[in-house]
């Protein structure tokens, strides 16, 4: 065994109270960081799953059509050859489908909401929409109590296969004071600056998925076509799904390049959902069609700030805690150096170079920080796995909105665990450089005399 490693390990064992105290603090900070990163990753994962179910593929090919300079319609005309080109360009895509984008007002006797409404073919999207869960009646019917013989749920997503239906999320059903079977009026401004309306029946109310569900409803795609008086070769957007998220970026680039090379006019990259681009596109002077290629992150960018806040809070909190732990480590090393001043002097006298003295203390800090970080990540991972298996319900509406789910989802990702371990170990080892360097500069005679 390397003598410096041996000395470091044995000194840590010798001063076990101090080692345990400091190691415990390092392990606790590591655990906290793993848990926080797990929560953030969980929210991101939920956001991705929600986005893929509600409003986006991994990659989307949409566009805007301007019949006049001041208008902008989120439609894609002549979509079949585009879809064919996309299919040829990304053969690794697992699912390619199209949806119609609508932006309309849903009106009930008690209220109205203005939100994006997706025109979908339920049979084709079974795999995607099947991931959504029905909301229990108590989520949207005020004062509802389950009586004997009653069922907790009503309606079903598959009922949207029939015309004149709409699926709402619980948040909108509550606001509109409607339930399954009630009729609402859908009013949609058409591309000719007129409004078309249609009475539709609520066929299902879905469990809220945080902030994203506040921006989503579904209707039958044929009803959407009828409302917008769309031609059969026109759609809202083509959504492309891949087996792995990692394929999305490459897929997006390939699709953009292929469309551009085929001579389709393209919009410059704008990482925002389609409904946030109306103002800008309407103000542009061109007419005709331009194609817009986006990815799932672009389509959810309006809530990406939540992730940014989580990340910022995580790093701020752990940054402060790390600083405290580093100060603790530096203090502990100072104590160790003071206690071992004589030893340092002796070692220097018998021929140990300054660099090796520095190495000796850095190894000690490395051993302490790496072993404590290892314990921290192990406990943090275990804690995250337990949290995830418990499916803890999130009670407050605000929390549900920000955590994008009704239950706490914590993702355990190897890269987060590895990053945490590495970051803590490197940060604390670097923190030991200053006291180690000071120790190495002690003159042998001074060190030996001080010890006496």
């Amino acid at each position: 065994m390397n003598p410096f490693l041996l000395i470091a390990a044995r000194n840590l064992v010798k001063n076990r109270s101090r080692t345990l105290l400091l190691g415990g603090a390092v392990a606790s900070v590591t655990l906290l960081l793993v848990v926080l990163l797990g929560v953030v990753a969980g929210v991101r994962q939920t956001l991705l799953e929600n986005a893929l179910a509600l409003s986006s593929g991994h990659v989307n090919v949409g566009g805007f059509y301007k019949i006049s300079q001041s208008s902008a319609s989120p439609i894609l005309t002549g979509f079949q050859p585009i879809k064919k080109l996309v299919t040829e360009t990304v053969p690794n895509a697992t699912l390619i489908l199209e949806r119609i984008k609508a932006w309309g007002k849903i009106i009930s006797e008690e209220g109205a909401v203005q939100i994006p409404v997706w025109g979908v073919d339920v049979k084709r999207e079974k795999e995607i929409l099947g991931k959504l869960m029905l909301a229990p009646k108590r989520d949207y019917i005020e004062g509802f109590k389950l009586a004997e013989g009653q069922t907790e749920f009503e309606g079903g997503v598959d009922q949207l296969a029939n015309r004149a239906g709409i699926i709402l999320f619980a948040t909108h059903a509550r606001k509109l004071k409607v339930r399954v079977g009630d009729t609402v009026t859908l009013s949609v401004p058409t591309y000719r600056n007129m409004s078309n309306t249609k009475d539709v029946r609520v066929v299902a109310v879905l469990k809220d998925l945080g902030m994203m569900s506040a921006y989503t409803a579904f209707m039958n795609d044929l009803d959407a076509r009828e409302l917008y008086q769309m031609q059969p070769d026109t759609t809202g957007q083509i959504m492309i799904y891949f087996r792995n998220l990692s394929e999305a970026s490459d897929g997006e680039n390939k699709i953009r390049k292929a469309l551009s090379e085929r001579g389709y006019p393209m919009l410059d990259k704008d990482p925002n959902p389609f409904w946030m681009k109306f103002g800008r596109i309407s103000a542009e002077s061109w007419t005709g069609q331009k194609i817009d290629v986006t990815n799932w992150e672009d389509e959810t960018s309006f809530i990406k700030w939540i992730l940014d806040v989580y990340n910022a809070l995580t790093f701020l909190l752990t940054g402060i805690l790390m600083l405290i732990v580093v100060l603790g480590l530096v203090n502990s090393l100072w104590m160790s150096i003071r206690e071992r001043t004589g030893e340092i002097g002796t070692l220097r006298a018998i021929g140990l170079q300054r660099s090796k003295v520095r190495l000796m203390f850095v190894i000690e800090a490395f051993l302490l920080s790496s072993s404590s970080a290892a314990v921290g990540v192990a406990l943090g991972t275990l804690f995250n796995l337990i949290l995830n298996s418990l499916h803890l319900p999130i009670r407050g509406e605000a929390f549900q909105m920000f955590l994008m789910s009704h239950t706490l989802t914590v993702a355990v990702r190897g890269q987060d665990v590895f990053f945490t371990f590495l970051a803590i170990t490197i940060f604390l080892t670097l923190g030991s450089l200053y006291p180690s360097s000071k120790a190495s500069k002690l003159k042998p005679i001074t060190a030996m005399n001080e010890a006496v």
Binding site: I7, E343, T346, A349
Partner: protein, 229 residues
């Protein structure tokens, strides 16, 4: 012996310590030479400058003026790295308080200086360590840590550690001061035996008259000056 034959040579060496605003002279122009194979005692009362003299010869301290030459090298002209290297390869130290590494056992303590010397194989290290541990009579205590040994045994470990690199000279600062007279006598006998068998130069300080009589050469110090050499 010619001046150039000395392995250690001091020319008009002075050493002053500053205690607050007061300058205290520890050595006041000391000149001496020590040849290889000597068994020499530096004798003198407390405060006479014995430890200071050993520290300067051992390259752990620097002279205020004068010249300290060790192994033909003027120590004042050496860098910190070169001085450390000189200590590692040329000089062995035995301290009054033994100064062993408390967390290492006998074998590890003795082996430590060898690990700092790069070109020694593991097999040779093991052979040398066992040779010197046996030489100081501690073969039955290989895995004992310093706190499991008596004072005499600790000093034996220190002697083995000082000898294991096969230095040209071993400096010992009052090696028997913390030992009872019987154990102290044993330690001196051991050092003398090693001097005779291994031809290692020993230079040690003491104010114990019983030990002084075993020396082949006595350098007497009084108030920072050599009174007898």
């Amino acid at each position: 012996m010619n001046k150039s034959d000395y392995f250690i040579q001091l020319n008009q060496v002075t050493k002053d310590y500053q205690l607050g605003k007061v300058i205290v002279p520890a050595l006041k122009g000391v000149s001496l030479g020590i040849g290889l194979g000597e068994f020499t005692v530096i004798a003198g009362p407390s405060g006479s400058g014995k430890t200071t003299l050993l520290n300067l010869i051992g390259c752990v301290d620097t002279a205020t003026s004068g010249q300290v030459i060790v192994a033909e090298k003027d120590t004042a002209r050496l860098t910190e790295v070169e001085l450390t290297d000189l200590r590692l390869h040329t000089i062995g130290f035995i301290f009054q308080s033994f100064n062993l590494i408390s967390v290492l056992n006998v074998v590890d303590n003795v082996e430590f200086p060898l690990l700092l010397q790069k070109k020694i194989s593991k097999a040779e290290r093991k052979e040398r360590v066992l040779h010197f541990v046996e030489k100081v009579g501690l073969q039955g205590h290989l895995n004992h840590r310093p706190n499991e040994l008596s004072g005499g045994q600790r000093q034996r470990v220190a002697i083995a550690r000082a000898l294991v690199t096969q230095p040209k000279i071993v400096l010992a600062d009052e090696p028997t001061a913390n030992l009872d007279s019987k154990t102290g006598q044993t330690i001196i006998d051991l050092m003398k035996h090693i001097n005779e068998t291994e031809k290692t130069t020993f230079l040690f300080s003491t104010h114990d008259h019983h030990i002084i009589q075993h020396a082949r050469r006595v350098i007497e110090l009084q108030d920072g000056l050599i009174t007898k050499s």
